[in-house]
């Protein structure tokens, strides 16, 4: 069950001017949070009119013992800029944990495919999968040099990296879908997890074929409330009646993680 709580920033780690990692003391949320769930947090002061809405962020890491959660933030606008400038000790109002996270299996091999900031929820997933003995392979597609910092976040899982605009010739140029295709043709994976921008999700979705049934996609959509009240955040999923027709489902309550064979792009 999600809760509205006042949490406290313990540390803001500036990875570079584009990315930051927030360590937050929120024991009620840490206690029940699952990999793939998110929180909706207030970025302005209490009663703020600009920005008005809370902002959704994936739970990047969970430390139940210490009651901590970690968020990995990419600065894209007013709200994320404010977050990046926050200081240790400041309070944050948030609601969480929200949505349905990843459904983990405890055996076999897992392929985790991230596009950019899509790496955020995959860290906690990788931790939990490897703790239960699953062999984890991480693929990360990024745009440029600044994004490379995201690989350090995943260092212990030795991510394979591909870049749209590489700066040096030793770096591989291309899209993460190419890496995924190579991995899938050389090895069998029992579980595939994907998170990233929509064009990447769509391309991978088309490419997965018979692997779709073992795949899970974490989706992003512009949100209003984050808790199912407003129907702002919908995506297309297959109707349950087998007609092949789609319907709109709320990403915040039915997702953000959907099975590959249920989501429609």
């Amino acid at each position: 069950m999600s809760q509205i709580c006042r949490s406290q920033i313990i540390e803001v780690l500036h990875l570079n001017d584009r990315y930051s990692c927030l360590q937050i003391y929120a024991p009620q949320i840490a206690e029940t949070a699952q990999a793939g769930q998110f929180v909706n947090l207030q970025v302005g002061e209490d009663g703020s009119i600009d920005p008005l809405l809370k902002r959704p962020f994936s739970i990047h890491r969970i430390d139940r013992e210490l009651g901590m959660i970690y968020l990995l933030i990419k600065v894209v606008g007013v709200g994320t800029e404010k977050l990046q400038k926050m200081k240790a000790g400041q309070g944050l109002e948030m609601i969480g944990p929200l949505g349905h996270g990843f459904r983990l299996q405890n055996t076999g091999k897992a392929l985790l495919v991230a596009g950019g900031i899509g790496i955020a929820p995959l860290y906690e997933l990788a931790v939990q999968l490897s703790e239960s003995g699953v062999e984890v392979t991480v693929l990360l597609g990024v745009t440029d040099q600044k994004d490379l910092i995201l690989s350090t976040v995943m260092e212990e899982y030795d991510p394979q990296i591909i870049m749209v605009n590489p700066g040096v010739s030793s770096q591989r140029k291309g899209l993460v879908t190419e890496l995924a295709a190579e991995c899938l043709s050389s090895k069998e994976y029992d579980q595939i997890y994907v998170c990233g921008p929509e064009p990447m999700l769509k391309a991978l979705h088309q490419q997965l074929g018979s692997n779709l049934i073992n795949s899970q996609f974490s989706l992003e959509e512009r949100m209003g409330c984050g808790v199912g009240l407003c129907f702002s955040c919908v995506c297309k999923v297959k109707q349950d009646d087998g007609t092949g027709e789609w319907k709109h489902e709320r990403v915040c309550t039915c997702g953000p993680v959907f099975m590959g064979n249920e989501v429609v792009f």
Binding site: Q42, R222, C225
Partner: protein, 307 residues
């Protein structure tokens, strides 16, 4: 004696705080966050047939407000009866259904069917949705069409009928009088104001449906003005809404002439807000020794109106 209780015509509420349609789902999504129940919960707009609504993005932030273009996504009457009504059955407050249609007959059929359900206590007729092509706001911007829809709903309803007005008109008093004459028990106002936002980086409209309805603090002065105007020309009670977020905003809306006050956008930001407003209003009344809210309703109206 509950000093917060109010009468909306035949409808009695334990307190004057209501959650606005489209911002509290079908009630069950919100109720876990509510420690004190608001006097009423208005469900997401229902139509006869299921609707998938508009393409995304459906929401955009604007100064002190939001634009939405949901487009009345809802399960339709049949699925609502089958799988949703049980979920609201044990929410112990006034449950108000909000209905929309393409034709007068669709409004009438929905009314008949919903009147039969024990879970529903009143019907709010949405003649003011800016986000659908047919019906919706088209009925709410023409006094003759508004009269026609509301009188048909009143005829077929065994429950109190609330007419929800659109602010997208030149003179809202004309529409208000039309729905009162058609037999509406209550008027609720305002729905969202039609607006638009453009992403200057791409040069494209931000919303998938291009235009959307503006809500939130940005529209509060407009809502206050319209409630104040309508309170002077009708005798039926008004549910005031538009940008309400604090106890001060609730009081302002009551003083403008509203008997009850709905919160919409503010509930989306803080789902516990409706409960807090009920408690704060109770504290305020105790402190100011107000035994009946009637003593502040319409306080700002010209003195001959202030009865």
């Amino acid at each position: 004696m509950n000093r917060l209780s109010v009468n909306l015509g035949k409808l009695q509420l334990t307190n004057p705080i209501i959650t606005a349609s489209g911002t509290c789902g079908f009630g069950y999504e919100l109720s876990p966050y509510l420690t004190t129940l608001p006097g009423g919960i208005v469900l997401k707009g229902l139509t006869l047939e299921e609707r998938q609504g508009n393409p995304t993005p459906r929401i955009a932030e604007t100064p002190a407000g939001i634009l939405n273009s949901i487009g009345l996504q809802n399960p339709g009457l049949a699925k609502f009866k089958q799988s949703y009504r049980t979920k609201i059955a044990d929410i112990d407050t006034c449950i108000i259904a909000n209905i929309s249609g393409n034709t007068v007959e669709e409004y009438a059929r929905l009314t008949e069917e919903l009147s039969k359900l024990a879970e529903i206590d009143a019907i709010e007729v949405n003649i003011s949705c800016p986000n659908v092509k047919k019906g919706g706001m088209a009925f709410g911007t023409d006094p003759i069409a508004a009269h026609q829809v509301v009188s048909e709903v009143v005829k077929r309803s065994s429950l109190p009928v609330i007419a929800k007005l659109s602010p997208n008109v030149t003179d809202i008093r004309v529409i208000a009088r039309a729905v009162e004459e058609a037999g509406a028990d209550v008027i609720s106002m305002i729905n969202t104001m039609l607006g638009m936002k453009i992403d200057i980086r791409s040069g494209c409209p931000v919303l998938g449906n291009i235009m959307g309805g503006l809500s939130g603090p940005a529209i509060r002065p407009i809502a206050i003005r319209m409630v104040y105007q309508v309170a002077q020309v009708v005798d039926i009670p008004i549910i005031g809404m538009g940008g309400v977020r604090t106890l001060e905003d609730v009081l302002e809306m009551l003083m403008a002439g509203a008997t009850a006050v709905s919160v919409g956008t503010a509930t989306m930001i803080d789902p516990a807000l409706p409960s807090r407003l009920v408690q704060e209003l109770a504290d305020y009344c105790r402190e100011k020794e107000i035994v009946n809210l009637k003593s502040i309703v319409g306080m700002a109206l010209p003195s001959e109106m202030n009865v």
